[in-house]
Symmetry: C2
Subunit: 460 residues, 2 copies
């Protein structure tokens, strides 16, 4: 955890930003997998961690701005607990380390909040995403589950986004630690993948690297020879020579900061000619996008730049026709690049996603798109120093989508559907790095992870 | 999954056992770790799997005994979903493979159940253990979260326990597969643990073995040099020569059947003399308990036997005095062996634990104990052929507990508190195997996993 002063200062700034009312921070609970006591690895709520730093299940906290008090609600271990769990530092001592002097038992929060309600003080809370959050809001604040999302505090959301978006030096150091572990995972992937292995076997090996470095994976490992399937899980099938293997994997440090990297490699020794050509297109789009990232530029425009580079490349293969920029203006890129160029990253791999992508990635004046492709771009707003973002363009040949466009002869002035047939079973490529925006540009985070074709093949 | 006939027959038998009413089976949902879309590995509800075999999130099912119909509620993928997830077998085809011909969209379940309620038909459901279950019971059946547990159907629970307790041949084969993977995990642990490694690093490595064999771990790996802490998590501290390492880890197969094994080894090459003596005591208790397991014997009595063997051993060290059997009758063993000898195992590592330990491990005439030690014995009833149970005695030297007993001079006629001081920092030992009860005795499941001192040390 960071120093006491860090947490005290964060809460102080938040109080000033919100101004009045009571701020409720619901921590996460342990979740039973197949029964109550067989629990998933505990993951604390990220905003709770940001302001209170306590990585323990079944804690909640309030910042009562009107009455100038901060309280952590949670139970101390009983002597019976200690028989089973071993001696542990008292909650009151842990809370003191993040500058909170008032700790009350968990069951005190209900009557405390009911008291606040009865005084008609405003209670600000964040959008729920776990079943337990909905139950707690219902019990404590008498908010029906169906209304819990929309009654979340926009004022609190905006204040938090205005803080968590700007990573401090100590946060960037922690993120870089996560990225370095993620690099280790990818080096293992790039060095050891062989035809005949299974996606699952590799995925498990990478997770063990994340665990061995003190944390865990920051999201389920995507390890696949079908890179075009964006939401996929590793499978038991043997990977084959001639295929490419796409690995999208990142580590989370013990402090819960994230890394998020993707590499695509030949499953065998070398890319095929076509794979190499396509890979170079994605790589050029990725490095061009990284070069463009600096304070002031709209990330939406960097996305457009990357999309244009991808279509330029596909034009050189004869699959795309006409002016690439005009083709992007007509959303032709969404046939090949259906998702966003990147997203904020921090305590969450999609940082603050539970607060709402409109608030995190856009502004009051810049609304998130709603059309295919654009609705998947999580970040559109102007970049600022301290933002940490991913840059992850890709080319994804999705047979279902190709068939749909072809049947409609959609945008046929820009797409040569006959030539496209040669790419129908190509699968997909993505290359992803994590960058921090600096005063005059950006810096790629972490140790070097090969991405040039020659250096990738040299590792195989 | 098993054959269609297996699931049809299971549901047929269940219908006959319960007799009337509607049986509701809530499947599990994906759970967001730190936001909705960053999900934990999905784990289906075990009873849902047992009767419906569909290992997919956001499904529910009913068996309407009165109207003789079975329905699975769940959504088919849209063409937009397929762009992101790739083509998948339709739910209606998957349901057909488990003998269910009627599939309705997820949002139809609410009005369907409201219709059943309005006809005053009895709706049987199982005790909830996830937040979402409570929310669903509230929405569909108008049952308040505070009452959802107690309103669960005892009739349905007992009928299910009377089926899931007896493992079929195909289930035992699948459990044995899980045990074999668990053996592989332990062989890796026993061969590769070295002073200087971290508990976490080892735990991650074992998980990767479980994942590579097509499933995952069946519960969080316990990997510790402090075996006396029963609820512990692996840590970042380096393990040291002279310590023992306890590993309690098991795999779950792709079909979600579990293994659960424990071994305790010297972290260095050899046990110390005291460690070896204590280890032999636990091993003798464990093999004696396994020998005793056969149809008809109360598992409670096997627990007592193991406890007696442990105290006999401690008597030989001079730590315990008097008659060991009398000492056990006075609960003296609970100073050293605070938990139960074992539990049922199947689709859950503590099989059916969410249905209630009284129903699973005891009978109407045999109630679960409520005193320290006995309240942690999950299984007490008479063993029967087809039961799969764990046998896992241990000796746990818990300083907090020793101090408490010593301060009270508790059972001092049986405990030499001066001699006990030499064991105060001994830590703990557990040895665990999984057995199936046969017609005339039992069989230890899985490949051989060394547990004799000599064979353990030979692997180090």
């Amino acid at each position: 955890m960071f120093s006491k002063e860090t947490y005290i200062q964060r809460r102080q700034i938040l109080k000033q930003k919100v101004g009045s009312g009571l701020l409720l921070f619901m921590g996460n609970e342990d979740t039973g997998m197949n029964y109550r006591d067989n629990v998933y690895p505990f993951r604390q709520e990220s905003t709770f961690l940001y302001y209170f730093g306590l990585d323990i299940a079944s804690l909640h906290a309030v910042i009562d701005i009107d009455n100038d008090q901060e309280i952590v609600f949670g139970n101390e271990l009983t002597i019976d607990d200690i028989v089973w769990t071993g001696p542990k530092e008292a909650l009151v001592d842990k809370a003191a380390k993040v500058g909170v002097s008032k700790v009350q038992p968990l069951n005190a929060i209900d009557s405390f909040l009911k008291g606040i309600l009865s005084k008609q003080q405003t209670i600000h809370y964040l959008p729920p995403y776990r079943g337990e959050h909905y139950l707690q809001l219902q019990e404590w604040l008498e908010i029906a589950p169906s209304e819990a999302g929309q009654k979340a505090s926009v004022g609190l959301i905006k204040a938090i986004v205005s803080m968590r978006s700007y990573k401090s030096g100590e946060e960037i150091a922690e993120i870089e630690k996560a990225v370095n572990t993620s690099v280790d995972m990818h080096l293992e992937f790039m060095r050891t993948t062989r035809p005949g292995m299974t996606e699952k076997g590799l995925a498990g090996k990478l997770q063990s690297i994340a665990i061995s470095q003190g944390g865990d994976i920051s999201y389920p490992v995507i390890m696949t020879v079908n890179g075009e399937i964006l939401h996929t899980h590793a499978r038991d099938l043997a990977m084959q020579d001639g295929q490419m293997s796409l690995c999208d994997a990142g580590a989370e440090t013990a402090m819960r900061y994230c890394g998020d990297l993707t590499r695509t490699i030949p499953t065998g020794k070398k890319f095929t000619t076509l794979q190499r050509e396509m890979y170079e297109i994605v790589l050029h789009a990725q490095t061009s996008a990284i070069e463009a990232c600096k304070p002031g530029i709209l990330f939406k425009d960097v996305h457009t730049l990357a999309a244009t580079k991808l279509l330029e490349g596909l034009k050189s293969l004869g699959v795309v026709k006409g002016d690439p920029a005009e083709a992007v203006a007509n959303d032709v890129h969404t046939l090949f690049f259906q998702c966003g160029l990147g997203h904020m990253m921090g305590l969450d791999v999609h940082d603050m996603e539970n607060l709402g992508e409109q608030y995190v990635g856009y502004t009051d004046d810049l609304k998130k798109g709603t059309t295919f492709g654009w609705k998947s771009l999580r970040l559109g707003r102007a970049l600022e120093p301290g933002f940490v973002v991913t840059i992850e363009p890709g080319l994804y040949l999705i047979p279902t989508l190709i068939d749909r466009w072809k049947a409609e002869n959609k945008r046929s002035e820009f797409v040569d559907y006959n030539k496209l047939e040669m790419l129908r079973d190509f699968t997909g490529i993505r290359i992803e790095d994590d960058i921090v925006i600096t005063e005059d540009g950006n810096r790629v985070l972490g140790k070097h992870l090969p991405k040039e074709v020659d250096e990738v093949e040299a590792m195989r």
